[in-house]
Symmetry: C2
Subunit: 318 residues, 2 copies
Amino acid sequence: MRHYIGVDLGGTNIKAGVVDETGRILAEDSRKTKIPRPESEVCADIVETILCALSQAKLTLGDIEGVGVGCPGRMDSTRGVVVYSNNLIWREYPLCDMLRESLHRPVYLGNDANVAALGEVWAGSALGASSAVIVTLGTGVGAGIVIDSRILTGYNEAASEFGHTVIVHGGAPCTCGRRGCFESYASATGLVRMTREAMEQHPESLLWKLTDLAGVDGRIAFIAGRKGDKTAAEVVDRYIDYLACGLANIINAIQPEVISLGGGVAKEGDPLLIPLRERTYREVYSGLGEKYTRIELCTLGYKAGIIGAAMLALGNPR
Amino acid sequence: MRHYIGVDLGGTNIKAGVVDETGRILAEDSRKTKIPRPESEVCADIVETILCALSQAKLTLGDIEGVGVGCPGRMDSTRGVVVYSNNLIWREYPLCDMLRESLHRPVYLGNDANVAALGEVWAGSALGASSAVIVTLGTGVGAGIVIDSRILTGYNEAASEFGHTVIVHGGAPCTCGRRGCFESYASATGLVRMTREAMEQHPESLLWKLTDLAGVDGRIAFIAGRKGDKTAAEVVDRYIDYLACGLANIINAIQPEVISLGGGVAKEGDPLLIPLRERTYREVYSGLGEKYTRIELCTLGYKAGIIGAAMLALGNPR
């Protein structure tokens, strides 16, 4: 059995895991990233986290085929350089070279959302799929495209930003500068905005008994809707409508074998998934044939980032 | 030098060309498709068209490595079957098997829009690009995605329908059943609709001196706009705005090295292309870095279909 290291380097935590070639995590360890501080200190902590995980797995660096790192921001995976990371406050940092100096193993780099998508294909909700798009419904809408077990990075490694494709021309302003992006409607943030707007228009809604405007989160409309509140049910309905619109766009463009949904909103499970499937499939070009995109929920949680990072090393043999 | 046959099988014409491995057409021939008639008769005419093209190139079937066919509709390229073609009125027709019986050469099949995209990458506007999306602005909006010299067909060979991704939620009805599709705004048909609407609102417009409502085509707004008509200039402006929105969506999703525009509207050239580039680039996520998507015009015209079909055979060696 071959073994790999997967590192999920985030703005808050450094997580590292020892992963076998089947995508199973044998041991993992984590540290705080403690940004801002010098890059070299973060690198030293990455190495320490890896060594602790290895030690728990009763393995040494010599047992490892390679190391993969998922990192937020814009990567140059060919050069192994973090081109720009807002979360880490890094620019043009040669992360792979720095880690290789300490680890003496091959090191590979990828964007964290893309790497997590690879994890779901390797060992999670899209296991064995010839192609998959993983869509994360959190503060924003993230996405990763995997085709034939490889990340579709695009010409400049900035692809798969479905969150920043416009679905409502001239619609709600997005953090990216455009108006009407999928993210502005299908993120938890978008759901919160729509919930607040509905509350302001409906003082009679049960929503007011559950929260004030400041306390609105991405779950409250689902909760009040299940209790029979009409205003809340309409918010959920509208949210699912926009989400279905964006997913149908992804299907018509890419026709992946699987779309998997992750992030906070996806935790709603079937009350989200069942109407979402029905409405998305209604909008697929030329209808559903024998082969159509399955819409599923992600199953690996944070582990997708570790497993996917390890799979970067597996997919790039020396 | 190796040689291939490329066939562009349309509802109106059968075109066949002898293509060398550099993507150059050495000779070509064509016949009317004469639909409706039995599939076997169409097949016989495809074979005859191929033999005539070969004879013009002073070659025989024995000199040919393989034959590729581009066909409108839904294909199963693995089985070599035309699953469904509205234009040919064919269903589940085993075209590759039928042609192989007569030609005794390997035969490959692809969707015509995808195949034309492959032609532009092999020998036209996207020559040598690692990835490209070809967008055709005609009666509808067609598209083909090519990555690493291969067509992105998706799980069910129905991918790349960017024309049927919604950019205006709840907008103009589309032939596909959705509302607000990119095609409803960026096709020549969409441009004609917007021109007519503007004429109805502006009886003072120069457009009325050039045409009546029935005579409106996809060029008239560009022509009147150049003559200084404000109404027409606003139509062109709005059209370019929607087109830029859709292209920025494609870029944010796929980040291809090149987007090439074909079809009737693309013939406008620089008056379309220059403002289009400027507006599209404004909407690209995180702005333009060192590497960004070039936006170009297709250069091969109908030859893209022949060359791309031949390249199906080249890209699928025995």
